[in-house]
Amino acid sequence: MFELIWLIPLLPFAGFAVLALAGSRLSRGVVSVIGTGSVGLSAALAVATFAGFSISPPPGNAYVLPLWRWVTVGGFSPQVSLCLDALSAVMVLAVTVVSFFILLYSSEHMAREEGFSRFFACMDLFVGSMLTLVLADNLLVLYLGWEGVGLCSYLLIGFRYEDSANVRAANKAFIVTRIGDTALAIGLILLFIQLDTLSIREILVQAPQRWSPDSGVAVWAALLILGGAVGKSAQLPLQVWLPDAMAGPTPVSALIHAATMVAAGVYLVARTHVLFTLAPSVGGLVAVVGAVTLLMAAASALAQSDVKRVLAWSTISQIGYMFLALGVGAWSAAIFHFMTHAFFKALLFLSAGVVIAALGEERDMGRMGGLRRDLPAAFWTFLIGASSLSALPLVTAGFYSKDLILFMAWTSGTGGPWLWAAGIAGSFLTGLYAFRMVFLIFFGERRTAPAERPGRAVTIPLVVLAFFSLVSGFLQMPAALAPVTIFSDFLSRSLPPLRGVPVSFTTEVILFLDAMIMPVLGIAAAWWLYLRRPGLPERWAGTAAGSALRRFWHSGWGFDGLYGAVFVRPFTSFARLNRDDAVDLIYGGLAWYSAGLSSLLTRTQSGRLRRYAIGIVAGVVIALGLVIWFKESP
C-alpha cells in the first residue's frame, strides 16, 4: 500500500506534462478533466494511504520510500526519497483534498479565460511541487518542492500577464520570497557542513547529540530555517508580498495563498522542530514573530476595502497564530489550525470569488451590499467561512483549533500571558473584520446588481468545504469540554505531544470562556458598527487621527514604503547611475582614445606638398644632429 506513495506527487506532474505539451490543442472539457482528475486521483490515493496509515501504521511510525540517488560527488550523495509519517499524511490529505475542490471550482470559474490549459498546467505543477515538499525525506527534495511552489506562485499571480500590475505583483512575490529562500539555502548548507547529511530524520537525530542547546550553530541553523519559513508564509518582516499577490485569479489566491503554499513555512518549522527545541531563543522569536504579525495583520485587515486584500491580511494573521503555536512548542496545535484554516480560508476565497465574478470583477466592498438574497449559496458559505475564521464558539472548526492554540500559549513551558493576550486580542479583531466583510457584502442596500448565478461545479466545492469548516474541529476538543484528542494523538506519532504546565481547573474554565467570549464580542461590535450605526466608522475615519490611522493600517503599517525607501530606491537609483555601465566605459574609452590618436595621425597625411617637404627636412636636421651628437664623444 505504502509503496504507491510516489504516485501521489507523480499524478499531478503527469497532468502538468500533458497539459503543458498538448493543452492548447485539447478542448476545455478535456483539459479540466485532466487537470482536476489527476489531482482527484491523487486525493483518492491520499485518503486510502491515510486510512491505511491510521489503521496499521508502519514500524517506527514512518515509511520511507527511497527512489534514487541523485549524485555522488565527494562526500555529498543525497538520496531522493519520500517519507510518509503522521505529519506528512495529514498534510498530504489536506493539500490534495482542498486542491481537488479548488480545481473543480476553477473548471467553471475560469471557463471564460484564455490560457485555460496554461492555468491548469500551472496548478497541477503547483500541487505536484507541494506534495513533493510535504513528502520529502531529504532536505534537498524539500527545497526542490519549495522552489517549485515559488515558481508556480509567480506564474499564477502573473497569469493575466497582459496587465503589467499583475506582473509587478508576481515579481514582488518572487523577489521577497527569494530572500527567504536564500536564508533557507544557507541554512541547508550549514546543516550539511555541520552534520554531513541532508536526510531530515538523520538531522533530527544527530543535531541534539552533536550540538548543545542554544549554541551558536544551533541558533544559526534554526534562525536560517526560520528565515525561509517567514518568507514563504508571509510573516514579519517579509509579509509585504501577499496582499499584492491577490492580483492573481481567485482560485490561485485560494489554493496557493491561503490554503497550501503559505503554510509551507509552518510545515517546515514543524518538520525541523528538533532544531527549534534545541535553540529555545529562536523558538521564542518564532512565537513573538507570530504574535506581532497576527495583531498587525488583523489591524490592517480592518482598514482594507478590497475584499481579497482583507482575506490576504487575514491569512497573514492566521498564520501568525500558527507561528505562535510553533513558538511555544505546540506543534500539533499549529498543524490542527493549518488544517481548519485551509478549509475555511479556501471557502472564503471561493465564495468571495463567486461574488466578484457575479458583480463583473468588482472587488471593492464599498460597492457591494445586500446580496444575500441574490446569491444565497455564496452568502451561506461565506457566512460559515467567516464564522469559522472568527472562531464562533462550539459550532465551527476554527474555534477548536484557535482555542487549542490559545490554551497552549498560556500553559506551555515557553508560553506566557503576554502571548495569550495577543492571541485573545487578535481573536476579537478577527471577529470584527470577518463580520465587517459579511455585513458590507451581504447586508445593507444593494449597490451593484449581480449578473449571474454560480453553477454546479462551483457550488459543490463550496458546500463540501463549508461542511469541513464546521466538522473538522470536532477531532480535538478542549479538556474543559470533552476529552477528545484524536488529532494530537495521531500526530504525536511524529511530533512531540502537546505538553503543558498543568493548570487548575478554574484557570482552564476561565481561558475557555475568554476564548468563547472574545469572538462573540468582535462579531457584536461588527454588527453594531456596520449594521446598526453604519455611518459611525466613516465618521471616525473622517477625523484627522482616524484617517491617518486608517491610511497607516491600509498600507500594512508602512512596510512597503519602508522597504521602498531603504532597499528599492537606492538600488534602482544605483542601476540608473550605472546605466552607461562603468565597466563598459573603460572599453569605450579605449576605442575613443585610439580614434583620437588616429585622427591626430591623419593630420600628417595632408596631401600638401610643403608639409611633406618640411617633414623630410626635419628628418635630415635630426639625423645630422645625431651625427654631431655622437661625433662629440670620441
Binding site: 591623419t602 597625411q605 596631401g607 600638401r608 606638398l609 610643403r610 617637404a613 618640411i614 627636412v617
Partner: protein
C-alpha cells in the same frame, strides 16, 4: 696662404643648398619650388666639383656632368607637369593641388 681652403668651398655649397631647401619650403608657387630644386642640385654639383678638385681627380667633374644631365631631364618633365597642373587646377598654387579630405 697658398690656396683656397677646401672646407670653405664646401661651406658655400652647403649654404646654397640650405637656401634651396628654404625656397622649397617657403614658396607656394610650384614654379618657384622647381627653381629651388634647381638651386639644390646646383649646390650639390658644386660640392662634388670642389671635392674632386681637392684630390685633383676628374671624378668630381664626372659627377657634375651626371648631375647636370639629371637636372635637365627633370626640368623638362617638371615643366611639362607644371603646365598640366595649370591646365587642370587653373592655378600654380601647390597647396591647391590636394584632394585629401581629412
Amino acid at each position: 696662404m697658398n690656396g683656397i681652403p677646401v672646407e670653405q668651398g664646401l661651406i658655400v655649397a652647403g649654404l646654397l643648398f640650405v637656401l634651396g631647401v628654404a625656397g622649397v619650403l617657403i614658396r607656394r608657387n610650384v614654379l618657384f619650388i622647381l627653381l629651388s630644386l634647381e638651386i639644390m642640385l646646383n649646390a650639390s654639383g658644386l660640392a662634388f666639383v670642389v671635392a674632386g678638385a681637392r684630390w685633383l681627380q676628374p671624378d668630381g667633374q664626372v659627377m657634375f656632368v651626371f648631375i647636370l644631365a639629371v637636372a635637365a631631364a627633370e626640368v623638362a618633365l617638371g615643366l611639362a607637369l607644371i603646365l598640366w597642373m595649370y591646365h587642370w587646377y587653373g592655378t600654380l598654387d601647390g597647396d591647391r593641388a590636394c584632394s585629401m579630405r581629412g
